[in-house]
């Protein structure tokens, strides 16, 4: 009898373990709430970038030339503080380092503005010690867990890797064939991912690699014009399909995991989204640019 019971338990464990683990891995995209405005009820306008942790969310409210910083409790924003400095004219990407400093890419100046945790201007983060001259146009940037800075330089066709002080460490050239890279992501393990908007293709350079290679084919049928890419704590890749109004999920081997959400104006739909961020709690925040809002999913 006990043998039968043990076998039964084993069978149950074998059948349910993969389901359980898969359920934990992928965000279900159940909508929690939507952020439409700051505490003073000033509406968001064309938000293009964001960064998040379990405790905070910072939004580049591009159309209003400002940042909004929210404290988070269980995925729910509690109060928003506005950050507006004259040096920031067109914030399009934002990242917060481990010291709480805010780094913002200004789309007009194409320079990274450095702000202290209180949102005061410290200076510009211009790459130092570049071996091949200052020919650089920043399209996007990301930080890794050690605060190293990864810059997508579309002018010289490379990803620049800088230390937290902005000093040059190394660079990886873009691959031979590509369309146009709009964003990059850094995986927890150190691998770098690029999203090619024109070719609808994901490229990667695993940790220690000196070159990028495609991990997906040209998947125009599942991504129209992707512009954002992020990797969650478990290594899943989320691509924001701007023109398709959806989120496309891949594993790091390039296998397609699904397409979530759809284009529209109602709650739960996206209209020309640009960026996405996933925190360690598995909450996903999307810069839903043309809907002027930040929907939060779990």
């Amino acid at each position: 009898m006990s043998k039968i019971l043990i076998r039964g338990f084993l069978l149950i464990a074998v059948f349910f373990f993969p389901l359980q683990s898969f359920a934990e891995e992928v965000i279900r995209f159940q909508q929690l709430l939507t952020i439409y405005a700051d505490d003073a009820e000033k509406s968001l306008l064309r938000p293009e970038g964001l960064d998040c942790t379990s405790a905070s969310l910072i939004v580049a409210d591009t159309g209003n030339n400002r940042l909004l910083k929210f404290a988070l409790a269980d995925g729910t924003p509690k109060g928003a503080s506005e950050i507006k400095v004259p040096e920031l004219t067109q914030p399009i990407r934002v990242q917060v380092n481990s010291k709480g400093e805010i780094l913002v890419l200004d789309g007009k100046k194409r320079r990274i503005v450095r702000l202290n945790p209180a949102g005061q201007f410290i200076g510009y983060l211009d790459p130092k010690g570049l071996p091949s001259g200052p020919d650089i146009v920043l399209r996007s940037f990301k930080l890794d867990r050690q605060d190293n800075i990864y810059i997508l330089d579309v002018f010289s066709g490379r990803v620049l890797i800088l230390n937290p002080e902005g000093e040059y460490q190394k660079e990886i050239s873009f691959p031979e064939e590509y369309g146009f890279f709009s964003d990059l992501a850094v995986a927890p393990g150190g691998g770098i991912f690029l999203i090619d908007s024109v070719e609808s293709r994901v490229f990667s350079a695993p940790e220690g690699s000196k070159s990028f290679s495609p991990i997906t084919g040209r998947v125009k049928d599942i991504m129209s014009f992707p512009t954002g890419i992020t990797v969650d704590g478990k290594g899943l890749i989320y691509v924001v399909d701007q023109n398709g109004g959806s989120i496309v999920i891949f594993r790091q081997d390039g296998s397609f995991q699904g397409r979530r959400l759809a284009m529209g104006w109602r709650e739960g739909l996206l209209y020309y989204p640009t960026q996405m961020c996933v925190n360690n709690d598995g909450d996903a925040f999307i810069a839903d640019r043309n809907n002027n809002r930040i929907p939060v999913f779990r």
Partner: protein, 423 residues
């Protein structure tokens, strides 16, 4: 003499094969030995005149009408025993190469008779018209260009088939017999002093000749495209390229927009003063993503027509445009800049105006459009952060529905916002 002895067996084999094939089709209908062709001509009297033409299709000449036609019944018009393409390819087996890079549209569609008369003609290969006149029946614009241009390219005048294969090409696009520049270099010797002088000593033998020269003729000397970039016309190559004697003579002096900034500084500064710059302008190719720095037929020295240029990156948009049920005229005409500023703008999607309503208002008198309120005072019921604009209901690049609407009918369109009216 040796040649003749080789030719004789070949002729013999071809004759036997022809006789055999016509005999085979005749046998199918158990025709009397002297009935082939003659029987048909008993009724098709007018056809006798056809036989007086100098060029007669072989089966017609041998009286093998049943090689192509079924005298009793047929599933194809003119009592043809199969589709035209299949009938022709039965004998002309090498006409469509397996690995064709490009195929002439009428050939691919089996429209052989657009060019050839299947029975007889006054022209070689039974062509319906002699020489280029036949090609210009369809390629009218090319005919106009070739007849009007000041400077003509002699191979074009002698015949399109000097460069193009009329059926298909395994070598190149546009049915060219070889790839450019190889095709051009067959006549133009790059080693000759005159060639080198004209190209200022730059090693252009490996370059794409047709990026500067119009092979069909031009009003510009040297068959350059009609719009020529001023420094190029003045042979100021060194303004952009290295010295012709340097190790990399064709290397550009600067990368991306920086190359053009030297002369077009005010323009580029103006672009960069806007909040949003077209990212294509900022990559390593910069202006050259869209513009030809030497010469072009397009306004603004665009490399190709605007829709093709924009569509190189925005393929998804162009695909949607192609599938759209209702066509928006500026989109249909490929006039992307009617609404978008291609270099930079302060507005989203590089629109030319701050308000979408104002963009549409350049052509449409939206106040006369309908009684539906639009504008900044009216909130979109689906999203409190949006106001009602033209784009609340229409997609300017088109949709699968009429009038560029997002929904198949008015009811669905209206009730998307006015939910309470849903029945």
């Amino acid at each position: 003499m040796r040649c003749r002895t080789r030719l004789f067996p070949a002729i013999l084999i071809v004759s036997v094969l022809l006789a055999f094939s016509s005999a085979e089709s005749a046998d199918k209908f158990k025709l009397k030995p002297d009935a082939r062709g003659k029987n048909c001509l008993n009724c098709h009297v007018m056809f006798k005149d056809k036989l007086n033409n100098p060029y007669i299709h072989t089966p017609v000449k041998t009286g093998d009408c049943t090689g192509c036609h079924n005298p009793h019944t047929a599933a194809h018009e003119k009592f043809l025993s199969a589709g035209i393409k299949d009938i022709c390819l039965k004998c002309h087996t090498k006409l469509l190469p397996e690995k064709a890079v490009s195929t002439h549209k009428p050939v691919a569609e089996g429209e052989c008779m657009k060019c050839h008369d299947p029975h007889s003609e006054k022209n070689k290969f039974n062509l319906k018209k002699p020489g280029n006149a036949l090609c210009f029946e369809c390629h009218k614009e090319m005919g106009d260009l070739v007849s009007k241009v000041k400077f003509k390219h002699s191979p074009v005048e002698k015949g399109c088939t000097n460069c193009h294969s009329p059926h298909a090409s395994t070598a190149s696009v546009k049915q060219l017999k070889d790839q450019v520049p190889g095709l051009c270099l067959k006549c133009h010797d790059a080693k000759k002093a005159v060639f080198q002088n004209m190209h200022m000593g730059y090693p252009v033998a490996g370059s794409q000749c047709t990026s500067c020269h119009n092979p069909h003729g031009s009003d510009q000397r040297g068959l350059l495209y009609n719009r020529v970039h001023s420094p190029f016309a003045k042979k100021m190559c060194k303004e952009c390229h290295s010295q012709p004697s340097s190790p990399e003579p064709l290397k550009l002096q600067k990368t991306g927009f920086e190359l053009c900034q030297k002369c077009h500084s005010p323009k580029i500064n103006e672009f960069f003063s806007k909040n949003r710059v077209h990212w294509a302008l900022l990559d390593k190719k910069g202006c050259l993503n869209c513009h030809n720095p030497h010469a072009s037929n397009q306004e603004g020295l665009l490399k190709k027509p605007m829709m093709i240029i924009c569509g190189q990156c925005h393929t998804d948009t162009v695909e949607k445009i192609k599938k759209a049920e209702s066509k928006h005229p500026p989109v249909q005409e490929g006039n992307c800049t009617a609404c978008h500023s291609p270099h930079s703008s302060d507005q989203l999607s590089l629109l030319g105006e701050a308000s979408v309503i104002d963009v549409c208002g350049q052509c449409h008198d939206w106040k006369q459009h309908s009684m539906h309120p639009i504008g900044p005072k009216f909130t979109d019921k689906r999203n409190r952060n949006l106001t009602v604009t033209c784009l609340s209901c229409h997609r300017p690049h088109g949709t699968e529905y009429k009038r560029m609407m997002f929904f198949p009918n008015s009811t669905d369109t209206c009730t998307d916002c006015h939910e309470q009216l849903k029945r």
